[in-house]
Symmetry: D2
Subunit: 382 residues, 4 copies
């Protein structure tokens, strides 16, 4: 294993679950070592926590501007190889842009920005700076999701006809909890923008659909409903889709689906077969070749596509979960970054991390869906 | 058990699967005895098959007109108590109307008619004749579907927010089989009308949604796609719904979902809990009370609602399937017919058979969805 | 369909579940018409119930002796083609023997007798009378169980190495209910004999194992435990088995497995593949060819073995349950009886009903297991 | 988070899967930093690989003796806090004993030793040295397994009547692969001792049973079979058990169960309820309170026992897998080691790691089972 890459994080401080998931994901396979961070909106708390996670005091920052200033000045072995941005959504644009401009590769939490314009600006910034801009659609790191993509790419399903994606849970179903500030802001347009649940969980399901079938969304027709009193933005959304390659799509996102613990699931139907996958049982991919019995493909099986085999750490039958999926995103980034440093082509099976483009395109679909829903379900270009 | 009721069937002849299911469903609990039938479009074949199924020669008819003529003249113990119409869709209206007018109770296969106008006409006919008109949405006879309806009715889920119904299979996914006449007519507007898969399987899922939440559809926004070359009508449809009681709905029907053997499933989400049911595992109903773990309710459990207990024949843990569900529809009809004869109120838990009104309303929703789809997804009154 | 066969039943009166299941199973496909019965230990109640189920008054008997006396005198079209014995276990021998001797074919509920000696006597009686003696191991009528047997028979699994059978439920787990007379007698040697749960549910699992792998049990080593205070006979049993064809077996039966609704399941492992089936999801058979992914075989699939296809009434994806399995046992008997009448060979795929020999052999295994358990687990010949 | 503990490993070199799992598990939550290792039987390869994993050259050893010699001389901040032994089974005793004697805490891979005598010797050694000796029954680190144990301990299931454990897979089912050296040695008594599959996977299932019900095994009756030609030791084993607290047990282990990918599963039945858990779906624990519907308890649920909540890193509905379970074993060890250093009581919910005693007791059960099997199934004290 080559020398560990240097990694820093903005946001993701104490009590943040996503911060912990990034730290584990980045270090899982020994690719990244966390050496710098501005982890909290409260400078003192952020510095203290950074030190407790093993960052040295001189690189435990009070805010991202301080971090940017000092880290920009470091070079050679000290230079950060990757910065993860895991701050509140509204700050993603400003922070990611600043780090990209300063020459850092950036992995930004989803949504990449809150407006499509800001997203496009980030893409331009990254292009000009010749830096990697990735977005953390972490579920696409699951080996069996990657297996699904590889199977579609290789034509094992033929032309894709219909893709059905959903990410529906019941976390915001309790009306008695609707005024809880951690919940309420999500349904307030002033804070959350044009969409709530579709922009939150629906975005993941949408990316998964695009990722697996290898097509982009062309047009959408959407229905948003708000089912809990006092909410302005939708807590349940259905979107019909048309993709560039001719596939049709159905995308359902909900936050009031009581009894669904997580609810991310994907079904793909092509002219030669169908696939089913669910995040709650991520180690299996169910494949039905046309006119044949359904087969259970298992993570860890030696006959899977290389990209699925590479994303596995333990033998078939054992369970690998979401932290492994995050680890696979980081592993791809590590290989890509190392290849750049070493002026070589990266391993082709390590190029499946979700890009900034993916982040902006899926965001554009959500915004188009919001326009369609407001306009009564008419078809809108994405 | 009281004396068996006398039952006749139009259609459902040799080789017809639905005919066999009706015969088993009607006789399963000993409620009906088949004594008359015009079972086939070919008079000779129909008569011969009728005799082979145990009908006496004098009531084994060559066509429905002959059957109607002679049966209308019989009275007393010979008089038919119920006629099931299981002929091609386009003939449902004419045949059902004729038997209703002649004073027979009618159970008609779905769709009740091919146009809403014809459906309304049937309802009027039945009302004027004071006869029962039922439609065979047979899946609503499953005990755990009825349990779900009873739970919603009794407020155990609170106000219903969202209902998600689907009936998507892969039976018409094979492009090589698309020109098979048994498949092709379904996608030809001249033969199948305004809708294919939504009018075929989607109708069942739609009825299940309405039946369980006890609400009618008010408005729809729909997307139809035709994914196999040469098809005019849709083989995949998504419909968003608004119900009279305020619930929102999502209804997906597909005939190209390779790998889904049957695909009828229902999820109901209310302010106090959620329910999940699937026809492929019909003996379980999964219930999640808000903020509590999910529970598996089992057919045959003594703690179920009376209507669910009445629809069970064997003890918990054993499997009862679709023929039992059909049997429950017939059992309800038997009780209703007997109550009429005996001038008494029927058992209240035996009044859950799908009515002609259910058949017409759901058909109207399909037609509204077809209009919405043609109009680009705009909301249309149902 | 040929003329219906004439059928009579002893036992299975009002309130008996198994009686209802037999009536439905026998009539499901129109093979048998119930024309005679001595249904209850209480003559008056039995006669009244028989009439209510459609038996004419002259053949509604007060007890089996009366039935035997009068039915023995009938001939031609009135002669009973089959008598089902569904009385308490201790009476199976006497009643079945009497009807066999009088020249009737007999289907006896399980266990065929309470002692192996009585069982052997019945076999001899049936042989001398040249009558069919069958035992109602009804679960072997499930199409996918028959598919499993056909696959093993055809060598698709290679030599069978291990078979794992279980039938474990929690029906007798409630200590507060242990003194309920309906439960208590089962654990009293004076009433239930040498074994309780193994002789009750274990017998079905054992038969399924033998039926599917096509081998007989040679030797057993058993462990019986009684886990609820006051019970003498076992409420949980484990048996290791050796079969004539070299397979090893593991058989678990329990009545205290809280949470298992039914619990009948079978797993078969051969040198070329494995099979899994569970009664609670009977329409699927999971097949794993060696070194290949697991496949879900579905009831109703046109590619199944003929014997599995013959046992299906409705299309793939729909659910057929236990009553259909019973119906398949009766369908096999009907074909066998008709073939005898018509002096022709029966359809080879309709010869899979469980025979008296099956009933006696499996009973012998239970008795051997009881001896082994009493002797501290030593191996005992079956 | 306090300063990381220093950790070393013997064995687990390049290509070893278990080595990788230990490295991830130890570092997952930042408790341990790997600073020393003798990772390979080939000194040069082991040193090179150690350096590649981030160990400094001076602590990358050629063999364990070298490691022991130099590490014993280090003190203070350099002193190793824990040594993991992941070498071939036959070397566990010697290496663990040497490190314990030198004053190191030891986590040994399973089986802890190959003979019970060696195991007892290790326990004595650890006691004399006052060092922690743990064994890596890693599956007991799954949060829902710990939840099960907490529920039993708190009496939520009442007295335990029966526990059913199995760990049966098909990895050694292919006869064509039986002579592969990686497989063959396992069935050779000279290399593997008295038991193959029971000592390999069965040991895990056995520990899980003991761990969850909180009882030790008192007596066993076993049946071993060898189903593939040329094997001496068993590839399929069934053991009946009696526990100190009165429970009965059934333990099945197999290596020829084609189609079972992993196969570790546990069912516990008490007088007040039942539990079901399977490693292939580890985030759910199914709980059936007596006379109530089955409930699905979910990892990450705030209402779980503290020990289950502590072992979770991500929110409910996401999947955590085996590496998280390993991480929980290491987290417990870290807390125990830190408490010792800080002369305080460890957190009570962090004391559930599997101990050397657990390792020796379960090994003794396997050896007793082997004696029972050889003696024809008679009951043997464990």
């Amino acid at each position: 294993m080559p020398r560990k890459l240097r990694w820093g994080m903005v946001g993701g401080g104490e009590g943040s679950q996503i911060g912990g998931a990034h730290r584990i994901g980045a270090s899982l396979d020994g690719h990244f070592e966390m050496v710098a961070g501005a982890l909290d909106i409260d400078p003192q708390r952020g510095r203290a926590y950074a030190v407790r996670t093993g960052i040295t005091e001189d690189r435990a920052y009070g805010d991202w501007q301080e971090m940017l200033g000092r880290e920009s000045g470091l070079a050679g072995a000290d230079r950060l190889d990757l910065v993860t941005v895991a701050t509140p959504n509204s700050t993603h644009h400003e922070i990611s842009r600043a780090f990209l401009r300063a020459g850092f590769h950036v992995l930004c939490e989803k949504p990449i920005t809150t407006t499509v314009e800001d997203g496009e600006d980030l893409l331009t910034t990254a292009r000009h700076a010749d830096r990697i801009l990735a977005v953390n659609y972490g579920y696409s790191g699951y080996p069996m999701v990657r297996q699904a993509r590889a199977m579609v790419r290789d034509g094992e399903l033929g032309r894709i006809r219909v893709v059905v994606a959903e990410f529906s849970h019941g976390s915001h179903a309790d009306a008695a909890d609707a005024d809880n500030p951690r919940v309420r802001w999500r349904y307030d347009p002033a804070q959350a923008g044009v969409s709530s649940v579709l922009a939150d969980t629906g975005l993941h399901a949408l990316h998964l659909a695009c990722f697996v079938i290898g097509q982009r969304v062309r047009r959408v027709s959407a229905d948003f409903v708000s089912t809990v009193e006092g909410r302005v933005l939708e807590d349940d959304a259905m979107v019909s889709l048309r993709f560039t390659g001719g596939a049709a799509g159905r995308l359902w996102a909900s936050a009031v689906a009581v009894g669904q613990q997580h609810g991310l699931a994907l079904r793909v139907f092509g002219e030669r077969g169908g696939l089913r996958w669910s995040q709650e049982q991520p180690n299996q991919l169910y494949w039905t070749p046309l006119n044949e019995p359904t087969r259970a493909l298992e993570r860890g099986d030696a006959r899977l596509h290389e990209v699925a085999r590479m994303g596995s750490r333990i033998t078939v039958g054992h369970v690998e979960g979401m932290l492994g999926a995050f680890g696979n995103i980081y592993a791809d980034l590590a290989e890509t970054i190392r290849a750049r440093k070493e002026r070589r082509a990266p391993h082709p099976a390590a190029q499946w991390y979700p890009t900034g483009e993916d982040g902006v395109r899926t965001l554009a679909v959500v915004h188009a869906a919001a326009r369609s829903a407001r306009a009564g379900g008419v078809w809108v270009d994405a």
